[in-house]
Amino acid sequence: MGHGLSYDSVLGHVLDTASSVFNRTVSATDNFFDLGGDSVVAVDLVSRLADQLGYEPDINDLVWADDFGAFTRRLAA
């Protein structure tokens, strides 16, 4: 996994952060836009993830991923 973190570890951060942002439980198969995500939420989520992971995810990876699981896999690229 990129940046020395496992998929499961990164997924945990992603889902915890997304759950906090959307104020509901988010799963790996949820889609960002189906949850009501928009540009403001995307910037907020990526910013919070950067604090968690120690590096800034590419916001485009979040926007174009089918779901949070796919987004997490792109973080490894």
Binding site: N31, F33, D34, G36, G37, D38, S39, V40, V41, A42, V43, D44, S47, I59, N60, V63, W64, D66, D67
Partner: protein, 299 residues
């Protein structure tokens, strides 16, 4: 943390905010979201309050007007999520340095709050203006527009430049909807947002007999496009976008070099006109719905 420079910025910001009459304010934003949503730290908020930032209530019941807080963010260039979008715009302009035509794919994601995952209608003006219309994203769930924009245009003639220079003393300030067409407010206060500036420049150009039209559409930026208002001038049978307030503001914020992007140049390759005035881009059962516009370049 309010040092000399920042203190001056806060002072100017609150002075500008107080130029908007109180009757337009809606005090809905609780003090609890000021830091998380607007990235305004407690020391800055305390200073702004001491300078007269409008509010109601006290202590934990303090409430603010959303536009006031957004304008404070703009003036102080804080890292609030929606202000980050301004940098996307500057990046889009800087990428136009190759002077070639460009294309974008814009997905129109409708978000109906009454029934999530419902099917929404994209405005016919949007579909008609696109170069191509298809589907995109998970399961082809959303309408995808291909938008092609022309390469670098010729410069504006002197009479257009004269009109664009009228924007020089005006500062970007989000105004209430009720003031969005109020040119007298702009002249009295030196404040305007994109709608009010478009109205002002259109009126000035029209009064001088120039070929001008208003424009509502998208700023095409990656990863999200945004809606915007501007004016267009007809030069050599081409409608060219003009937006001196935006270019001046980008320079003030340090995002663009004013020598490379003077306010009298056209911000070409980023503005896509959809209609004359604001139209809801997305409807559900005839009612305007929320939308968001994920965007990628077409290579």
């Amino acid at each position: 943390m309010v040092d000399g420079t920042r203190d001056e910025d806060v002072t100017q910001a609150v002075a500008a905010i107080r130029l908007v009459p109180d009757r337009y304010r809606v005090f809905r934003e609780p003090v609890g979201v000021v830091r998380s949503r607007y990235r305004i730290d407690p020391a800055t908020l305390t200073r702004a309050l001491s300078l007269g930032l409008p509010s109601t209530g006290t202590g934990a019941d303090l409430r603010f007007d959303q536009l006031d807080l957004r304008n404070l963010v703009i003036s102080l260039r804080l890292n609030a999520p929606w202000f980050v979008a301004m940098r996307w715009w500057a990046s889009a302009l800087l990428q136009r340095a190759d002077e070639a035509p460009c294309a974008y794919q814009v997905a129109v994601v409708g978000q109906c709050e009454q029934c999530p995952n419902c099917v929404v209608d994209v405005a016919p003006e949007v579909l008609a203006a696109a170069s191509d219309v298809g589907r995109a994203m998970r399961g082809d769930a959303h309408v995808a527009l291909t938008v092609r924009l022309a390469g670098k245009p010729v410069g504006f003639p002197a009479d257009v430049v004269d009109v664009l220079r009228l924007a020089a003393p005006v500062r970007w300030h989000l105004v209430p909807n009720a003031l969005a067409e109020d040119v007298a407010f702009l002249k009295d206060t030196g404040l305007a947002d994109c709608r009010l500036m478009a109205r002002y420049l259109w009126q000035e150009a029209r009064d001088r007999g120039m070929a001008v039209r208003r424009a509502y559409g998208l700023v095409l930026t990656v990863p999200f496009s945004m809606t915007h208002d501007w004016v267009e001038f007809n030069v050599d049978d081409q409608w060219l976008p003009a937006d001196p307030l935006l270019l001046t503001s980008m320079a003030r914020w340090g995002y663009l070099d004013p020598h490379e992007w003077p306010p009298t140049t056209s911000p070409w390759g980023t503005l896509w006109r959809v209609a004359e005035r604001t139209v809801p881009l997305v409807r559900h059962n005839g009612t305007p719905a929320r939308w968001t516009l994920p965007t990628s370049p077409v290579v």
